[in-house]
């Protein structure tokens, strides 16, 4: 084993051009794919933080007693997809509304009496993402006799969830595409490298080398290439990310979202992916050039 590693390192040194090209190719592809992944990671963060805001107001009929309230709360909480329900009295609600409307709150000063009813604020489970589900929850709540009306989500939340689901779909499809492409390009690069060494392979075979003897150094080199390429790619991404995020902080100081880099575990995962891709490339190429 140690022998093969030595062989491999020697091989890398004497063919530094070929292997350099492979490492750079892998690094760039890892950079691209993980840049894309990072982008979607952050978009997803945003979606999650917005989804938390998907709430529903259940306005109650007038003159409901405590018992009925308690009963209703229990029933509402029993509906799947609803994670919480908080009672908000009409006075609370008016105060809240005034706060919300800020500049427009003067409008409410003209009111003679509080026109708002008592209400429950319902929190929708984050797993329920599409507006159809939310709609169906709303209708199920509406049928309770004590319920006057259900108002849910600002219209745009529904729209955005849809759009962001599309984002995610597109992102997922593209990620798959990118990954496939990466495997393919890396495999091709390694194939080209092996192609220019095919005579060498042939000579080794005729000199009596077993298949494992021929292949082992290539796999070791491939794994090293994958590791080095992956690390360079992630490092490059991190540098690019630092630039972007620092420039973001300048232009978007008022913006509440904060973007983040991959956690360490995912970074390591990407490097492993990169190693795996290089290994796969070796595997396919060696199969091609060592048929007999």
């Amino acid at each position: 084993m140690l022998f093969f590693v030595k062989q491999a390192i020697q091989d890398i040194l004497s063919n530094s051009f070929l292997y350099g090209v492979t490492v750079i190719t892998i690094a760039f592809l890892i950079l691209i794919v993980s840049a894309f992944g990072l982008f979607f990671l952050n978009v997803d963060d945003m979606i999650c933080s917005w989804k938390k805001e998907v709430r529903m107001m259940v306005y109650l009929k007038k003159d409901i007693n405590e018992n009925q309230l308690f009963d209703l709360k229990r029933k509402i909480k029993g509906i799947s997809g609803i994670s919480n329900a908080t009672f908000i009295s009409r006075d609370e609600a008016l105060k809240y509304l005034k706060e919300q409307m800020k500049r427009q709150s003067s409008l409410l000063d003209n009111l003679e009496k509080n026109p708002l009813p008592d209400a429950f604020e319902i929190t929708i489970s984050q797993s329920i993402a599409n507006p159809e589900k939310i709609e169906s929850i709303a209708t199920r709540v509406e049928v309770f006799p004590q319920v006057e009306d259900v108002e849910y989500g600002q219209r745009w939340i529904g729209r955005f969830i849809n759009i962001f689901n599309l984002f995610r779909l597109a992102g997922f499809t593209m990620s798959c595409l990118f990954l496939m492409a990466t495997v393919f390009i890396v495999a091709n690069t390694i194939r080209l490298v092996l192609y220019s060494k095919r005579e060498e392979l042939e000579i080794m075979r005729i000199v009596g080398a077993s298949n494992i003897f021929i292949k082992a150094p290539f796999y070791i080199v491939g794994i090293l290439e994958g590791a080095v390429g992956g690390v360079i790619g992630i490092a490059g991404l991190f540098i690019a990310f630092s630039f972007i995020s620092s420039s973001m902080e300048q232009t978007a100081s008022s913006c509440i979202i904060n973007i983040r880099f991959f956690p360490l575990s995912i970074s390591c995962g990407i490097i492993f992916c990169s190693i795996f891709v290089a290994w796969l490339g070796c595997y396919f190429s060696l199969r091609q050039f060592l048929k007999v």
Partner: protein
């Protein structure tokens, strides 16, 4: 026809490349520890025949047995083992351009799983015998043709093969070097190695009294035993 002493048996072998017949119905046996010339003009099929023997190509028809193993039926795992019994000097040397002279020769020994120490000693000894001790760390591109051929020779004999197949082993060598190489081959033969030399060089054939197979246009035309030399060539 069954000769228990035969290490190589070539039995009605045909070799076709597309429509080209490189070998047509060639049959002969090589005894253990025989010294054999394969002779014939350019394109006669000498190299093609050797290629079949070192398993670089498969026969189109017929059977070849080496050391009792039928090459058409050998399992893929055993091919490397068989190849290690055969040392080949290629007509075009086939040195690995990315390895040094030392590494090229050492490869054969590494492949067979020898110890590093043994390899060092043996390779150096062999290259010294070929007058290549100064070129240990050169790459093949930095050698003259004659020097490359000597490295190819060292590689062929490094693994102590039972059989040595030499395709025009002195083609690029001056008379002195050729003499040295031939002497070594003769010594190995005395020590028990089977030596097969393919050459169109009649002079070379005349310097050594040995059995000679004469190919022409892919056919085995003459099989001249050791005694009756010079007569028909």
């Amino acid at each position: 026809m069954i000769d228990k002493n035969a290490i190589i048996r070539v039995f009605h072998v045909h070799k076709r490349y597309g429509s080209k017949n490189a070998l047509i119905d060639v049959t002969f046996d090589v005894a253990k520890n025989e010294f054999l010339f394969i002779s014939g003009p350019n394109g006669a099929g000498k190299s093609s025949l050797l290629k079949l023997l070192y398993l670089a190509e498969g026969v189109s028809e017929g059977e070849i047995l080496i050391d009792g193993i039928n090459l058409s039926r050998i399992s893929r795992k055993r091919i490397p083992l068989l190849r290690r019994k055969i040392g080949v000097i290629f007509q075009d040397f086939k040195l690995i351009p990315t390895k040094t002279v030392f590494e090229n020769v050492a490869l054969v020994l590494e492949v067979a799983g020898n110890k590093k120490h043994t390899i060092q000693k043996k390779v150096k000894r062999l290259l010294r015998a070929g007058g290549m001790e100064e070129k240990l760390d050169s790459y093949p591109a930095g050698l003259s043709s004659g020097e490359q051929q000597r490295v190819a020779f060292a590689r062929a004999v490094a693994g102590d093969p039972k059989i040595i197949l030499a395709d025009e082993p002195t083609g690029s060598l001056d008379d002195e070097s050729a003499g040295i190489i031939l002497d070594i081959l003769k010594k190995l033969h005395v020590l028990g190695t089977t030596v097969i030399i393919a050459t169109h060089n009649k002079e070379l054939i005349h310097t050594i009294s040995a059995r000679t197979i004469y190919l022409e246009k892919g056919r085995l035309k003459q099989d001249i035993p050791r005694t009756s030399k010079i007569i028909s060539l």
